[in-house]
Amino acid sequence: MKTLIINEFRKLKREWFLLMLLLLTLIPVLTGSLGLFLNEGQKPLGDLFFFINNQFSLFFPMVVFILIGSLFYQEYKNKTYINWITYGYSKTKLFFSKTIVGIIIAFVLAGLMYLFLVAFFPIIMSMGKITIGSTSFIDITKGFFLEVLLLVPITIGAGAIVINLSRNIVVTSVLGVIYGFVSVFFIGASQGYFIPAAFAYRLCMYFVDQTSYYDNPTMATLTGLTSYLIIFTILFLIGLLLFTRKRKIEN
């Protein structure tokens, strides 16, 4: 498995799509910070994060969806799929190598966005553009990474299904964009905790502003987590079965 994962990283050498995805990931923090520089007055830290996280929850699922699509698409694009599956490794291992690498890269991208935020923070503070209210940077950190932890695996699962069904990166990218919009569509819904991405967003914002969470927090959290686990398991199993099913003839 280690060899397979290392090889997946080797294949990414000189692949520019990663840079594009990084730029897309950084858009929320760039626009959020730029907005502060251009506007007069001060903003509480919680409000700044609220703005950034709203954009992040739209863009990041798109990024992760396109990322996993691009990782699987390498073999389809270069027609190396036949070579790849005849090296003697099980298709289950090959599937896991791609998804694990996708998860690692997605976390790195989210981590880089967080680092950008951390880097901008002292500058914004020194310029007096921001005030620390009841929300601390530690609260933001906890909420942000919990959101990322929930968003990444489920989006990887969904993206893997689409790319292996379509074998087409344009179709996958378009569906990735739609997936991003659908994810944020349910954020404000009172029963949105059934939708994993909406639940992840609200759970993150709980650490920033507890009043923004669901009315019945315990029930919402338990239902949200259960719904997440069920949907994640279903998506992942469908993706795995699609990829590993024995075809009459491979092409």
């Binding site: 090889n7 080797r10 036949i82 005849t86 090296y87 003697g88 003839i249």
Partner: protein, 230 residues
């Protein structure tokens, strides 16, 4: 020895391979001849375990491993953004080849000078030669080359012929080359295998001095197959 016993493959109403039995020995080059759709690529894919065929394919009475094979199927497929050397290193990593001799592999196909070029920068002839170099890396027992001269100019075809016959043929390897280029097959193969409609029609030693004789035999065989089919 590669032993193919009663191998068949049917998809829906179509029979792609029909009860194929063959024995292929090391030290020889076999030429697989047949028109488009005859089953050449499907037979290669079956040997590599890429089809749900019925029957048995064994190597020296042992179960086959895809690592027994080096192959170039349909098109020399590599990662476009990796260099020639990086592509072969990646291949070696997958096969867990300890200290692969990439330099001599590339020298054998005259690509050492282009080792730092990205795959996307190579000409079609260079890509085909790189495909053959990869197929031979790790010294697999069996080498499957599916139309290795496809799209090449006459000089490129000659290069591949020289490479196979004078450099790569050895007592340890069994090479199976498919083609519809009779000149090429007549020049390199020790044994000829004719395939049509998923069936092996005829196997024979290659005793042809010139391609016209082979062309005549090929035509006769294929025409009689078509008549039988009609």
């Amino acid at each position: 020895m590669l032993n193919i016993e009663n191998v068949s493959l049917t998809i829906g109403a179509y029979t792609l391979l029909d009860n194929i039995s063959l024995q292929l020995n090391e030290g020889k080059i076999y030429g697989l001849l047949g028109p488009n759709g005859a089953g050449k690529t499907t037979l290669f894919k079956s040997m590599l375990g890429l089809t749900a065929y019925s029957g048995k394919i064994t190597s020296d009475n042992q179960l086959l491993s895809s690592r027994d094979f080096g192959s170039l199927i349909e098109y020399p497929a590599f990662y476009n953004n990796l260099t020639v050397v990086e592509n072969l290193q990646l291949h070696s990593q997958y096969l867990e080849i300890q200290q692969p001799d990439i330099q001599s592999s590339l020298e054998q196909v005259d690509l050492w000078g282009a080792r730092k070029k990205k795959f996307s920068q190579l000409s079609l002839g260079m890509k085909q030669r790189l495909g053959i170099a990869r197929a031979f890396l790790g010294t697999p027992k069996y080498l499957l080359l599916d139309e290795p001269t496809n799209g090449l100019d006459p000089m490129g075809i000659k290069e591949i012929r020289i490479l196979l016959k004078d450099k790569l043929k050895s007592p340890q390897h069994c090479i199976l080359v498919s083609s519809h280029n009779l000149t090429e097959i007549a020049a390199i193969a020790d044994e000829l295998i004719f395939i049509h409609g998923g069936q092996i029609i005829k196997t024979m030693q290659n005793t042809f001095e010139n391609e016209q004789d082979l062309e005549k035999l090929y035509e006769d065989i294929m025409i009689s197959c078509q008549k039988e089919g009609a």
